[in-house]
Structures are given as C-alpha cells and as structure tokens.
C-alpha cells in the first residue's frame, strides 16, 4: 500500500493508511505513559509533528488528521498540535510528544535528544526507531502492532502499564 499524500508536490512518499493508523494510536499510547497521563495533571497535551522541509504538506495533513481524530481533546485534556521542520526543533520547547516523519539520522538525533528530557518520541518509519533511539512506532501487520523501544524505555525511565506492554512488540 503506497500513495504520495503530497500528490501535487515533491516530498517523501507515505502510506496514508499507516499514517492515519499511527496518528490514531500513538497519542493514546503516549497518554498511557505514567507521568504523562496522570489524572491530576490538567495541562494541555502538546504534540509536535517534526518534518523535513520537503514534507510540509504531509505535516499539515498530519495536523488535519489529528484534529479530525481527537477534536482538540484527548482523555479529557486539551490537545494542542503544531508542526515544525526538524531544523527548528529547540530543546527548550516543552512537548509531551514528538511524532517524526521520514528523516535522516541527524534530524532524528534532535528528536532523540528531546526524548532525554521526558518527551515521548515516535517515528513513522518503525524500521529506524531502534538505531535512532526513538521510543514508539506502529507497524501495520495483520493488526496494527505497537512498537516500543526497550532501551529508550529504560534509559528515559518511561513507564507504561503492563497491559500495554503485553500487546506491544518490545524491541530489545
């Protein structure tokens, strides 16, 4: 399954079904992280779509998908979505989750670094999450498979409920 979402513009190719699947599931997975999902925490959840400059159209589309899926709220909390090119990601920004579109190693390093300060990181290309130190992804097999990077989970002291770990695929 393949289709260039940016049909009339140049950019990387994305599987629209996989993209929608990831954007439906990953924010919910992120909210299951112990610190992020604490009920008493009433602050808005901020999600950043990080993209290569050629993928701006896809990033805008991701924002539209998130808006239509969540209608501005997730698990009772306000959801704020923004998009930035990888080059403009600043570690001083406070995001609860960064979702990275296709990127090179250098670009993903910025996402990885953001994860060191407690941001849940997720990546479109599940094959590259381990080598680039990204916490989450979703792969489409017979069913959607939630992928969790065990090394990042340990190093950054993220904590998910056992039930999620039971249905997820853990990459050691």
């Amino acid at each position: 399954m393949f289709l260039s979402l940016s049909a009339w513009l140049q950019g990387a190719s994305y599987d629209p079904f996989l993209l929608e699947t990831q954007l439906s599931l990953l924010p919910k997975v992120a909210m299951l992280e112990k610190n992020l999902g604490q009920i008493q925490n009433k602050l808005p959840i901020k999600i950043l779509i990080a993209y290569d400059i050629n993928d701006e159209t896809t990033a805008e589309n991701c924002m539209r998908i998130l808006a239509s899926k969540f209608n501005g709220r997730i698990n009772g909390r306000l959801l704020v979505v923004s998009a930035l090119p990888f080059e403009k990601i600043d570690s001083s920004f406070a995001y609860q989750m960064i979702y990275a579109l296709k990127a090179n190693t250098q670009q993903l390093k910025k996402v990885h670094n953001a994860g060191l300060s407690g941001t849940v990181t997720a990546l479109y290309d599940a094959d590259r999450m381990e080598e680039n130190g990204i916490l989450l992804s979703v792969q489409m097999e017979r069913t959607p498979i939630i992928m969790i990077n065990a090394k990042i989970l340990r190093e950054n002291r993220f904590s998910f409920p056992d039930s999620l770990l039971e249905i997820a695929r853990i990459i050691q």
Binding site: S13, N75, E141, L164, I167
Partner: protein
C-alpha cells in the same frame, strides 16, 4: 534487533485486555486497534497477512508508470496475460488457464461483480481509464476474498475513487488525447454530510482504431470450400466508443447504487471469422442497480441487498462477403447466391434479479462470515434478423425460427458460503471456507478451501492454501444456437480446479518486499469449442483437462523518489494428453520504474516480456515468437492548479504484438495496437 512477539497477533479481541485494566483510555485504544484491523482488510492495507496470493496496485502509481486503462494496468501484474479473440474481446488469463473461457476470472468493481452474463467476460470494463481507479487488487488462484464472488483462476478487485473518499479533495477529473483518435474524459465527485453521502463518476472514451488482419476463416473453408476464394484480408474496424457512469447514495444503514456501461466496438475479425467491414460493430451494454440495508443481530453485522442487472449483446455485421453461395434454407438442394453478402442483426437482452444476504461477526474467537444468494436470469428480448436465406436478398426475421440462442434459456443460481478465520497462536492464522453452488440442473458444486499464514518473524511469513473452485458455463456456452462457429450445450459441466499454493514473503524494510509463490493447478472439464464433423459445426464441450505448475516472484521497492516493481512467472503446463498446454507462455516478466526527477517532473519506464507461446498439438503453425514491449512516460505537476500533465509513449519500438488465433480460423494471429502516444491532463478539485 531482537523482537518479542506481541499478543496483538492473537485473534482475541483487544478489548479482553481492557477488562483487566479498567482504563477508559486503554479500552479506547484497543477498540481503536480492532476497528483499524477491520478497516485494514477493507482497504487492503495488510495484504501480506490475508490468506490469498495477491498484489495491490495504486491507481496513481500505475498512471505514473504509463498505464492508461485497467487492461494496460493488468499487463503489468504478475501471472496475468491478456488473450483476445476474433471479435477483439479481451480476457485476462491467469497463469495460462483456459484463455478461451472468459469467466475464469471475475472483475469486481466497488464491491459488485461486473462480468456480463452473455460471455461471462468484462471486456467493456477493461477500457476503464486508470484515472477512475484508486486501487486494483489482483488475486491469483481460486477463491476470491470478496465474499460471494468466487474467482476460478483469479479475481480482479477494482476500487474507484468514487468508492473511497480522498483527503486530496472532493473530486477528480482527467482528459486524454492520443494516437488512433483516442479521446477520453471523465471525473469523480464525492460529498457527504453527517450520515448521508453521495458519490458519482463518469467517463467517456473514443478511438477510431483499425487493425490489419491476415486472410480470414473463409480461406480455411469455414463457409465451405466453394466460398474459400472469397476470403478477405486487410484493415478491419476495431474502433471503440464507451461510456460508463455510476452513482452511490448512503443514508445511515441504507444504500442504493447503480452503474451504466455502454460499449460499442468494431467487429474486427468477425463473429464467424469473416473479416468485418466498415460500420460493422457490436455492443456490450450493462446496467446494474443495487439497494439494501446494513443491520445488526446482537454482535453480528449483516447486509441485505436486492439487485437488478441487465446485460445485452447486439451485433450488426456483414457476416459473409458478396458472392457467398450457400444451400437454400427451405430447399437445401438449391444454392443461394448472396449478391450483397450475408448480413446479420443479432440482439440479446438478459435480465437478472438477485438477492444477497451476508452476516459477519466474531464466533468462537474467530471471524466468521455467512452468505446466501439467489439469482435468476432470463431473456427479455432476442432478435435474429439476417439476409433472406432462400432468396439471398432482403432481410428476414428468424428470431423465432432460427434464433441465435435459446430464447427461453434461463439461469438459476443458488449459492451459500461460510468463511472462518482464527489466529491459532501468535504466529499462525488459520482460514477455512466452504461454498455450495447450484446452477440450473447442473451438478451441485461444493468448493472447500483451507489456508494458513505462518509468521516466522516480523520480516518473514509463509502462506499455504488448498482450494477447489468451479466456473459455471456461460450463457454463450450453454445456449448459442444456429451458428456453425459456436454451438451451445446446456448440459455442460462446470469447469473445476484444485489448487495448491504457497507463498513466502520477505520484508527487507518498510516498502521493500520480495515474494516467491509456488502453485499447482489441476483443471478438469475445461470448456472449449470442438469441431463436430457430423453437423459441420463447432460445439462447446467439456473437452480437456490441464495441469499447470509454476513459480512466481515479485519484488517491490520504494524509495522516496523512485519506485520499482518487477515480476517473473515460470509455468510448466500440460494438457490431458501430456502435450505442452497451448497459449500459455512458459516465461513471463514485467515491471516498471517510476522516478521523480525533481519537485515537478517525473518519468517512468514499463516493460513486459513473454517467451514463445505454444499452440495446440494439432496446429501446424509454429509457436508464436517471444515478444517484449516497452512503454515510457514523462509528466509535470502543476501545483498551483492541483493538476498535472503526462505524455506516454506506448510500445516504444512498435513491436508487433499478436494474440493467438485458433487453428483453422485465421492463419495469421490477431493483431494488436502498435506504437501509440497519449497526452493526459488530470487534477483534483
């Protein structure tokens, strides 16, 4: 990378886990995953994990690869060859299986089978422009995965842009012009509000193609030795005029949709193998209307649907040239000279009423589907008007005395099926199905199917299946009368096949896969025309069997700016007499590359090759020679207008492509289009 397998691969509903957690969010997540799993099946987003040997092509990618129609797209798919006949009807042949039987494969468009009742083929829809098509799924082997449509050699499932909304906009349009007077235009529009949706599409196309044929069947005494000198050769009308329009309305659980297709084509090599003249043509028209309602029975979801379809075949053709001499109809000892030739008007209109009911849901931890359908087809109008067969001049209506098919013929079908799919472990999924089908008084057909998918690891999986399938004889094969070139037989047995298939899929990385597929097809009761010297005519008989074994390989790799697809098929095929199976090339290869040159420009190269094509053992002509065809295209996007322009050159080297003619008809094989140029403008709104 070390993986631990997830329990998500089990068929157990995800919601079971949520009960342990009591978390609304987790519950929501698991419900979401279940819904996505179902949608993935519908949108073929997980085809590697479905129990079929199949390939999915996106219409947009095929368009960029230079395919301009459904037929051209299919020539790029592994295991599919296009066959043709004297009327220039086209028939996608899967893995060499009986190229003269049109109904061996089924075409399903937006959930509805569109094979016409008369031939059981779908020539008209093969001309559907690629710009109408969002996705093509090619299922090789028996047992289509679309419930209720049981493909024999294979199934082609087309999803149009009308059927699935896109985020690119509410509508699409295109217009094309090219060689041979090709003109095409069409568009799609979708709108929805709350639980109401409306979608429609339309296209029209025209060409003025004329193809050069060799000496026609008269030279082989098909109308008697005394008429052999009248044999003709040269250009024959092969032009096409086609229009298709469809619409779909849904309101809550209620739906109604319809499709109208008209297809007019030059008579080409002629119905009776006499070369057609200017103005000779035939029409294959069809309309369909479906209405129904989705319903719920406890946890089961059902769909009830009523349908009405009309198929028609009409032909207006000079069936034999001026000077023809045949015995008088009323006094056979008196010869009649047809000074203006023998002209025929043949018309058949057949109406089908159909009821379908499908129920699906989770039973015993697996996904189950029950289906039942019943249909009845009968003639609403028939005409057989030809040159008077006693005087040789003027036209006489023989509709009641010498009809070209049985006027009171009917087809009554009752079909029931059940499918059951269950994950037996984290790495093994099992699938079983059973179909029971009864047509008229023919023997009841019972087709079981068993399949399994074993996931070795996330990058490697294997599929196995054993299936039985059947193809019911078509209207033409059962009821054609008073035509020495083809005579029907209402007592034909259905063709049957037992198929053994396995496929290994290796996933290198995202968008990079290689698959290998081994298959063995045991075909029995294959229906074909056989000459009956007692009546001096060709009759449909259950004349042959065949054994087809083979290996297919498919490789797919997509970079951000470049996309590759390559397929290779090797067949070992023999008929019931241990002769090499006719019309089935042993080796075929095809593929394409599309490449984005920069932000605006893209280009492509597509090719197909097949080894020499063997003929029947009794055919004195040598094998058809191997052939390779290359196409190329270049396109430019116009972002400000949400559109693009593409120029495609088909058959770059103007290679002579031919379709095999049966022995004793045309000595030369049937011609096909040569080099052709096509310019297309397309966009969204």
């Amino acid at each position: 990378m070390i993986h631990r397998f997830s329990l998500a691969l089990l068929a157990l509903p995800f919601s079971l886990f949520s009960a342990e957690i009591g978390s609304a969010l987790f519950n929501d997540l698991t419900e979401n995953m279940n819904a996505i799993s179902q949608e993935a099946k519908t949108q073929r987003a997980n085809i590697d994990y479905l129990p079929y040997i199949m390939t999915v092509f996106e219409g947009e990618e095929l368009a960029h690869a230079g395919a301009s129609s459904l037929k051209e797209a299919l020539t790029l798919a592994a295991g599919v060859n296009i066959a043709s006949d004297n009327l220039s009807l086209f028939n996608p042949v899967f893995r060499g299986s009986n190229p003269v039987a049109y109904g061996q494969s089924k075409l399903i468009i937006d959930g509805h089978e569109v094979n016409d009742l008369f031939f059981d083929g779908y020539t008209a829809y093969l001309s559907m422009p690629i710009d109408m098509i969002k996705r093509i799924e090619v299922v090789r082997g028996p047992g289509s995965y679309s419930n209720g449509h049981w493909g024999y050699a294979g199934s082609i499932v087309v999803t149009t842009y009308k059927a699935e909304a896109s985020r690119d906009g509410n509508g699409r349009w295109f217009a094309s012009a090219g060689s041979d007077g090709v003109r095409k235009a069409g568009g799609t529009f979708i709108t929805s509000h709350d639980d109401f949706s409306f979608a429609a599409d339309v296209y029209t196309l025209h060409d003025n193609l004329s193809l050069a044929y060799g000496e026609d069947g008269l030279a082989n005494n098909l109308l008697g030795a005394s008429n052999a000198y009248l044999a003709n050769s040269g250009d024959a009308p092969s032009s096409t005029d086609a229009t298709m329009t469809s619409m779909a309305i849904t309101k809550g659980d209620f739906f109604i949709n319809g499709r109208l297709s008209t297809y007019k084509h030059g008579s080409a090599g002629g119905i009776n193998y006499a070369l057609a003249s200017d103005g000779d043509h035939y029409n294959i028209d069809q309309w369909q209307l479906h209405a129904g309602n989705h319903y719920h029975l406890s946890d089961l979801q059902g769909t009830f649907q009523l349908s009405m379809t009309q198929d028609s075949f009409t032909s207006h053709q000079l069936l034999a040239p001026a000077g023809l001499i045949l015995p008088s109809l009323s006094t056979p000892t008196v010869p009649v000279t047809y000074s203006d030739g023998f002209y025929g008007i043949h018309e058949a209109y057949i109406r089908t009423y159909r009821m379908d009911n499908t129920v699906k849901g989770t039973l015993f931890g697996g996904e189950t589907t029950f289906g039942f359908s019943g249909s009845r087809s009968h003639v609403t109008s028939e005409k057989t008007i030809t040159t008077d067969r006693d005087s040789g001049i003027g036209m006489t209506d023989y509709s009641t005395t010498l009809p070209f098919f049985k006027p009171n013929g009917f087809i009554s079908d009752i079909t029931g099926y059940i499918t059951y799919e269950k994950a037996l472990s984290s790495s093994l999924v099992g699938y079983i199905s059973l179909t029971v089908d009864q047509r008229n008084r023919l023997a009841t057909q019972v087709d079981p199917r068993i399949a399994a998918i074993y996931t070795i690891d996330p990058g490697n999986l294997v599929k196995f299946s054993i299936s039985r399938a059947h193809r019911n004889p078509s209207w033409q094969e059962m009821f054609t009368l008073n035509n020495k070139a083809r005579w029907g037989n209402p007592d034909l047995n259905p063709e049957t096949v037992i198929a053994y298939e396995t496929q290994f899929i290796h996933r290198f990385e995202m968008d990079h896969t290689l698959s290998l597929n081994l298959f063995r097809l045991e075909n029995n009761d294959q229906i074909a025309l056989q000459y009956n010297p007692a009546f001096s005519r060709y009759e449909y008989v259950n004349g042959s069997e065949s054994l087809i074994q083979g290996i297919e390989a498919e490789w797919r790799k997509r970079y951000d700016s470049t996309s590759f697809y390559a397929a290779f098929t090797h067949l070992w095929a023999e008929d019931g007499n241990d002769h090499t199976l006719a019309n089935a090339p042993s080796y075929t290869a095809r593929g394409y590359i599309t490449h984005n040159l920069n932000a605006l420009w893209y280009t492509s190269l597509a090719g197909r090759w097949q080894s020499k094509t063997p003929r029947t053992a009794t055919d004195p002509r040598g094998d058809m020679k191997a052939i390779g065809i290359l196409d190329t295209s270049i396109g430019c996007k116009i972002p400000s207008l949400h559109s693009e322009i593409q120029v495609t050159l088909k058959n770059i080297f103007d290679t002579d492509e031919l379709y095999p003619s049966p022995s004793g008809t045309y000595d030369d094989d049937y011609p096909a289009t040569g080099r052709a140029l096509l310019i297309t403008l397309r966009g969204t709104f």
